[in-house]
């Protein structure tokens, strides 16, 4: 506020970021209606499933799990976006992260909420889900999931909320005379009496940095125990010691890709070009490439170590996975989800943003397919002297899957109308700091690049 230039910058920032909260165009309502319709359709499919039981799905005694578990792993995977971008980059003081943290944290919260529903939809007796609390036993990997996913959801909500407080206060102060009393009340409540006093600011910053440190191990534990649901079972392909880290890296990988997609959408819709620049896309693409290479390495380790020895059941699995009926999916993941995105990131012939977003979309599609290829083929391998199992999802499963994805976008879209999608106070602060002491920031920026 000390410099005229910053004042302009700050005003412009506020105006750009807060405008979507005040104005809503027709396209938005159309989108919400469409998403509501898809969610409603998914809900109808779920009612059918409740009525007939899991008979309505393609799962049977041999292939006991299907799309719901695939979606579960996928959504919990992309929830790692928030943790990585905001927590890890905050802890490592990567300055460029500031304008994208809010979106990343929001992806986290929404993705966990949708993902956590999936195992409940998968239950044969959803009416007894409370047995998990009354009779729960901690020897079961499923119980570890419940504990760490609920901690992760709680932690992420706190971590999303804390940096929002000054922005909520800003919205509260900027509300005009005409706004409804309800809206005013809500923002006043959410701002919890924030007056931007030095003491408040000090406490908030401490709380944020503590949460940033706490959330990282919780996030790592979440995807580790998600993998344990599989790797604690005596099945080919799951009986693996690297499954924990394999899933965590996969989660970070698809998480970064999701942020890239969300970034490009809101950059366009909310006119955030000034704050989310090509640099953010490029920096994120380097992270994407890094996690891609680690994931590729782990994939090769995983299949080479079992493929070299060819134990009977593992050989059955590799046969249907690499050459048999699941081969199209497996190679779609390898080529479409790893090789092509890697080329798109490395070779910079085409314009940056479309190129990287294409890579991100491919990665997310590839990672969904990869989760399918992890869950289904293993279950198809016969454990007794019988034929391979088969699984074809029914319309109920596809509808619920579509409903879940629509639900994810819907919740995100609703939040995007309530929350400022860019952390205004942090971005403004960073800009002020930059102008106050240019030399050290410049050095850090170069390093971050």
């Amino acid at each position: 506020m000390r410099f005229g230039g910053t004042e302009d910058y700050r005003q412009r920032l506020e105006r750009t970021v807060l405008r979507p909260l005040a104005q809503t165009n027709r396209g938005y309502y159309a989108l919400v209606l469409f998403l509501l319709a898809v969610v409603g359709w998914g809900l109808y499919a779920y009612i059918i499933q409740l009525r007939y039981g899991l008979l309505a799905t393609g799962m049977r005694d041999v292939v006991i799990w299907g799309l719901y578990l695939v979606n579960f792993v996928f959504f919990i995977g992309i929830s790692h976006a928030g943790t990585l971008i905001s927590a890890i980059l905050r802890v490592t003081r990567a300055g460029w992260r500031t304008p994208v943290t809010r979106m990343a944290e929001l992806i986290t919260v929404v993705a966990i909420s949708v993902g956590a529903l999936m195992p409940i939809i998968d239950l044969g007796r959803p009416d007894r889900v409370w047995h998990m609390i009354t009779f729960g036993r901690f020897q079961s990997p499923l119980m570890w999931d419940i504990v760490s996913i609920t901690s992760y959801l709680t932690g992420s909500l706190i971590y999303l909320y804390l940096p929002l407080i000054p922005d909520f206060a800003l919205v509260r102060d900027r509300l005009t005379q005409g706004t409804s009393a309800f809206k005013r009340k809500v923002y006043t409540f959410l701002a919890v009496g924030w007056r931007d006093k030095p003491q408040q600011r000090h406490r908030l910053e401490r709380a944020i940095s503590v949460m940033a440190v706490i959330i990282i191990p919780i996030a790592v534990s979440v995807h580790t125990v998600v993998s344990f649901v599989f790797s604690m079972l005596l099945r080919p392909g799951w009986d693996s010691t690297i499954f924990g880290i394999y899933f965590v890296i996969g989660a970070i990988f698809s998480g970064i890709a999701s942020i890239l997609i969300v970034m490009v959408i809101f950059r366009k819709l909310y006119h955030l070009e000034e704050y989310i620049t090509e640099r953010h896309f490029r920096n994120l693409s380097y992270l994407l490439l890094t996690s891609l290479l680690i994931y590729l390495y782990l994939t090769i380790s995983e299949y080479l170590t079992v493929g070299y020895k060819l134990e009977v059941v593992e050989a059955h699995l590799l046969e249907i996975l690499l050459f048999g009926k699941n081969a199209p999916w497996f190679w779609l993941f390898v080529v479409g989800g790893l090789v092509i995105p890697a080329f798109l990131i490395i070779f910079r012939r085409w314009p940056t943003i479309p190129r990287l977003v294409t890579a991100a979309v491919l990665v997310n599609v590839g990672m969904w397919v990869k989760r399918f290829v992890i869950v289904i083929p293993t279950l198809e391998v016969p454990l007794m002297p019988f034929e391979f199992g088969a699984y074809t999802p029914t319309w109920v499963e596809w509808s619920i899957t579509a409903g879940a994805f629509a639900g994810f976008i819907l919740i995100f879209a609703l939040f995007a109308k309530i929350l400022p999608l860019i952390s205004i106070w942090e971005v403004a602060e960073e800009k002020e700091e930059q102008e106050r002491e240019p030399p050290p920031r410049t050095r850090e920026m170069v390093r971050a690049k």
Binding site: G53, L123, R125, S140, P217, L233, L234, L383, M384
Partner: protein
């Protein structure tokens, strides 16, 4: 408190270390309980009977005698007796007879009940303790507690658990049965079900349906504590019987410690050759029904079949 250049203070370091240690201890607590469980059950059941346990039920299956009932031109009678005795939902075979290939081109028949493993993977992974060992070492399922997550089915390396995907199709008389985990009739939608060694009969001193139903007397019900086994016509000393016949357990290397032993052949004429004209028949459900293979309507585009 916090110096930007020096990182963290000692107080912060101690606080965080204690926190991390606590978190680790909390997260690893289930691991320890699993490990101790494994150890306790690793002792042979016959040398270490628990205080309450008076029986340690086991089964011996003499593969030399089993002919898959192809000789009498009927479905396997063990499976058939089990189905009619328990009103098993269509498609499930709690004791199932597999035809397994032999190296010379022939085959042999292998009846597979639930193996009632001592270190049962299914019991370990159940999140609500709906599946458990009863005092006699039989793995039971409480169908009023089961939430239908199917972790146990994923864990079972023998594919011996079945799921009631929809409302089970049962004959009317099944409704008169009084449900208990020992006699899970009638089957309940959305829960996991399996062979339970006819625990309701065992407690009354009767033989299970499959053992009584086998025309070849190939199945023996035994008690590891008392060291006897009985197929309905002869009583044998279990330990000697197992030793003399080179008994083995299926997939023993997995460490699940099944309580079902198989007696392999010694060159006797059992099983069948590839050119054998006799039919191996699927079991029958006298009350009919479509089983869980069909999918009901209303579907957005007509009735879907398989």
């Amino acid at each position: 408190m916090r110096d930007k250049n020096n990182g963290i203070t000692r107080r912060q370091f101690i606080k965080r270390s204690v926190g991390a240690a606590g978190l680790f201890a909390f997260l690893s607590a289930p691991l320890f309980s699993v490990l101790t469980r494994g150890k306790a059950s690793a002792e042979p059941a016959d040398t270490a009977p628990t205080k309450e346990s008076i029986r340690a039920w086991c089964m011996v299956i003499d593969l030399k005698k089993c002919e898959g009932c192809v000789t009498i031109d009927s479905p396997p009678q063990c499976t058939q007796a089990c189905i009619s005795g328990h009103f098993v939902p269509k498609g499930q075979e709690w004791i199932q007879v597999y035809e397994v290939d032999l190296p010379g081109g022939g085959t042999y028949f292998m009846p597979t009940p639930c193996y009632q493993c001592e270190n049962a993977p299914c019991v370990n992974v159940c999140p609500v303790a709906a599946t458990y060992h009863d005092k006699d070492g039989v793995v039971l399922v409480d169908h009023h507690r089961c939430i239908g997550c199917r972790m146990c089915m994923g864990a079972c390396p023998y594919h011996r658990r079945f799921f009631n995907w929809g409302t089970p199709e049962l004959p009317p008389e099944a409704a008169f049965a009084e449900y208990s985990p020992l006699y899970p009739v009638p089957a309940i939608k959305g829960t996991v079900i399996k062979c339970m060694f006819c625990a309701h009969f065992l407690r009354d001193g009767k033989l299970p349906y499959c053992v009584a139903g086998c025309p070849m007397k190939a199945l023996y019900m035994g008690d590891l504590n008392e060291d006897v086994a009985n197929n309905g016509v002869e009583v044998v000393k279990l330990s000697r019987f197992l030793d003399e016949n080179n008994a083995y357990r299926y997939k023993e290397e997995l460490g699940t410690q099944p309580r079902v032993w198989y007696l392999p052949g010694h060159g006797q004429g059992f099983g069948r050759k590839p050119d054998d004209p006799r039919q191996f028949k699927e079991p029958e459900w006298s009350w009919g029904g479509e089983g869980y293979d069909h999918r009901p309507g209303p579907w957005p585009w007509g009735e879907a079949s398989k």
